[in-house]
Symmetry: C2
Subunit: 366 residues, 2 copies
């Protein structure tokens, strides 16, 4: 994403048209930003947070009264229910603007957005380092010259964030460091973010990969073809329950059943410190058409949508599920690797509060 | 399927065109039958066995020499590797024809095929009864008036067999008996047999159902929305390891993690008495195009295929996986309900051998 502060225009890559077309969309209002998020032109918890923050920056340029900003924030918060970064980013913006004179708010909002973007970049960079260390150790532990076999679900790469990703960041670092690598890409039904976006990202980066149906992950693990799993998160509770793309739970069960490490990479802004049990997370139910229809490209290059289900049958389409903390080997955050439990995450919170005081002057940590 | 013995023509429903079109195909040779199986115009372990047997009956009509029959059997056996009923049905036909004068073989083959079809009908009927009893008990145990929530994967209904199915047979019986029922239909990527075929079958029968992506099964179980799972099998070892459509293993893991009964309904011909460990079953790897492309119907009713994966990325497409016996609550066979272990299945084998002697005069049990 790119934000032009002078013109108050946000430009993003339209992810609904990837991998077949690289096209950009421009948002000129907070309402435009709501549409970008709601219709999934942008997706991925960290990027959703940044686009919502950009919506606030645009709103502040138009009408920076308390009332106008509150309305914009409420609409942006409603755009998708599950990712917690959305709320987090909006709170940061609102808190950062609260004490500022109305005439200065547009400028401050643009500066706060830039700060969030830098923070995001920094997060991805640190997650890449911590995650890479785990990959390297796993390759060493396993021995041999064969590529490290990593499985991932959905897309938690640079498309999902403002920088080079969460779950994919350690893989990009590993590729840079010369660690031999092969990635199993879960297609990630129903929206196929794996087959469309992760495969596209990995192909761009020249990283060897193979697409599989989500159903196949467990079988590959049984055959000893997976050394390690790594996924992102849309929301993680303070006890370490991980809400992520639907199907993550089943993948984690298969990893546990086969003794394969299952890592979750996440910026700490993804942690919902107010929630203990994952079962309390609101799970978004999306349009059943996503299950019954498939969008793609015909042989002649035209975009098309085909129905592959029985006409007249209905569908239910939960977008996320919750992987219980007991199935998570560790959480890879920008502040290091933590165990998925309240005690370990309590340490992360403490680290976060002290670090936040140093790093984000003028914006109080939540 | 319908076999015209006089004309030596097999007629089957073309399952690749369902649910959008009800069209029939005619096989005039064993080679036609190989194509029907290989290209999945017919599918489902029991039906594959019957079509292979029909192939032998057609071959016997053309050239009933030992050599010609052996060649036909070898080609039919090669048509798909995983389902064991294929081998079983071919062995039945070959053994039944071995001692018969060449001039009488065509007639005998047609009679043997009819016998297999009747046996298949009988199997489904008995499985329906035994399975229904389990559904009824589960509904009683759960209490309340809400419909029993059953989850199934792939298609093990009448389309997969010569009669009303294996996994779906108890559901049809339950509907007839007036047991309130709702079925969660896993779409079953990559070929969507659930969304296409099971949903079509259930709609025909007026049974309430909802299609979900395979990824969603575990989440529904976590939410307490599944009372019981029931699936079919393409091959089950003598120790109770169940080979079935890819994704069955992950579904079974989720069921076990949530304390939900996981049943496998199968004719005993699906049991491979020669194999102990499921890991020794040959797993078919099919065309990667099945993962990368999606066939379906456009809004204007035309058939179309869309690509939904990143162009240039490759795919791997294992068609089956193995669910370890420890995850299977019980096996529902035509001879009753057995535990998924060597001791219990040894009792089934004994029952089978004595029953086979009574019921299939002239064809020695294997």
């Amino acid at each position: 994403m790119r934000f032009d502060a002078a013109a108050a225009v946000l430009t993003v890559l339209d992810q609904t048209r990837l991998p077949f077309e690289v096209a950009y969309l421009h948002a000129h209002s907070a309402a435009d930003c709501v549409r970008l998020i709601r219709d999934m032109h942008v997706r991925g918890a960290p990027l959703i947070g940044l686009v919502a923050a950009a919506g606030m920056a645009i709103a502040a340029r138009c009408d920076s009264s308390d009332r106008a900003l509150a309305v914009a924030a409420a609409h942006l918060l409603d755009s998708r229910p599950t990712a917690v970064n959305l709320r987090w980013a909006l709170q940061r913006m609102q808190q950062g603007l609260a004490g500022v004179a109305i005439g200065d708010r547009a400028e401050t909002a643009a500066a706060l957005l830039l700060q969030l973007e830098r923070m995001e970049y920094d997060c991805c960079e640190r997650i890449a380092g911590h995650g890479y260390e785990l990959l390297r150790q796993r390759a060493q532990q396993r021995g041999g010259d064969a590529p490290l076999q990593v499985l991932t679900h959905c897309n938690a790469g640079w498309l999902a964030t403002g920088a080079w990703g969460t779950a994919l960041a350690p893989l990009y670092r590993a590729a840079l460091e010369g660690l031999p690598l092969h990635v199993w890409v879960d297609e990630t039904r129903p929206r196929n973010q794996g087959a469309r976006l992760t495969a596209w990202e990995l192909a761009q980066a020249g990283i060897d990969h193979t697409i599989i149906v989500d159903n196949c992950a467990g079988h590959l693990m049984q055959r000893g073809l997976v050394d390690l799993c790594i996924v992102g998160s849309d929301r993680t509770t303070r006890s370490g329950d991980v809400c992520n793309k639907i199907g993550t739970y089943q993948t984690a069960l298969a990893a546990a059943d086969n003794g394969i490490p299952f890592y979750v990479a996440l910026p700490s802004s993804t942690i919902d410190w107010e929630l203990d049990a994952g079962a309390d997370i609101e799970i978004e139910a999306r349009d059943p058409g996503e299950v019954l229809q498939q969008d793609g490209q015909c042989a002649n290059g035209d975009a098309a949508s085909v129905r592959m289900a029985n006409p007249g049958s209905r569908a239910l389409n939960y977008a996320f599920d919750v992987t219980p903390a007991r199935l998570v080997t560790a959480l890879i955050s920008e502040h290091g690797v933590y165990q998925a439990n309240s005690v370990s995450l309590g340490l992360l919170r403490a680290a976060l509060q002290s670090a936040a005081k140093d790093r984000f002057v003028g914006v109080e940590p939540l």
